[in-house]
Amino acid sequence: MIMYYLKWPLLFIACFILQTSFIPSLAVFGVKPDLLMIILFFFSIRYGVMPGLLMGFMLGLTQDLYTPALLGQNALTKTIVGACIGLFNEKVMRTDPFVKSIILFVMFLVNDAFFMLVLVLKNNAHFSILAPELIIKTVPRALYSVLLAALFYVWEFFPKHSGRNY
């Protein structure tokens, strides 16, 4: 029973530690997958809007503790993304893994768009940098992360089907 409640917080802490220490060594041409977004996606899509946005807020706030200047930046983006993913709650609508991958990809764009928007507003930079940033940085990162997330589905999908064959 205790493990039922502790499962997700422990998973988040583990992912956070991996993201800060191990994941940078998986970088391909400087592109790193975002484990925190993946885990937030799985959580929000399973539990819905409110748990999604609260977990997004907590996760973003923890990320912000590493930021030298802007406290609240990641909290804001992750809250919005957590709530958005929660709209596609599995209990409300059934979606296949392919559609989920597209949702995750779009959520990366949403996350980074808000992140850059705050950065632009805070630093009085020009808005024209937003679109190139999203194309050059976010798209490769999102694709890499979606690929990693797809592995979870493969892992979940195969044992069930091999089980039916026996």
Partner: protein, 277 residues
Amino acid sequence: MHWIIRFIVYHRNLTWLAVTVCLCLMMLTSNTTRQSRISRALTFTVFYPFQFYVSQTARIKNIFAENRKLKEEIAAQSVTISLLKEAALETGRLEALLQLENDITYDLSVARVVAREPAYISRSVVITVGTDNDVMPFMPAINSRGVVGKVIQSTRHMALVQLLIDPSNRTGVLIQRTREVGILETENGDDFFIRCRTHADVNPGDTVVTSGLGGVYPKGLTVGVISKIRENHDPLFKKVVVDLSVDFNRLEEVFVMRVHSQWSSFRAEIDSLERAR
């Protein structure tokens, strides 16, 4: 009153979203210096032991390639060292002639990077030296290629380094060939530029070094190389694009220069200003 409660009950998700977004905006707009300092210290205490051991495991993977690369680098460095020794002797002779005195004395502390900011842009890293190694805030961090950033917070066994790629960071630099002074800026943590006078003599390929004017970095540390010059409609200034020497995606070790910045003597005054803000 009832309709407010009914609204909150019926639109719980919307209410929570509004509350959390408002909280985030409050944090973004408020003075968070002290608040973030405390919360960072808490995070370090909770996460640091785990991060240290996980990063140790990740290092094993690269150890053979790193060894081979280091051997190659040592060979190249030994040639450079012999050339530099010659140059140092020459400089010493010239300084003695000019009766110049080198006013910067420092030691280097080697530190490993154990954690990076897990965000869209990694603006800070956590390193394995702290106040026990005499590492204090405002000390510059460098590696073999050039300036990495500056220490902004240190605890007993670790320190937080704000990287040069942080868009909120401004670094005083000068162009080595022409001694043109400027400020290194970035809007996205990726493209770096200096605003120079329109008629300033700058060319692609010129080396950019720290100017020593900011009070944190000693003069002459390599920052990068000018890659191109953007002409714009501004009659006074032109944008000089700089490629940084340090590869911030492959940051594994840094050296903290234990040099006391010019700010350290004003520390009490800075703290009182921060409190008053």
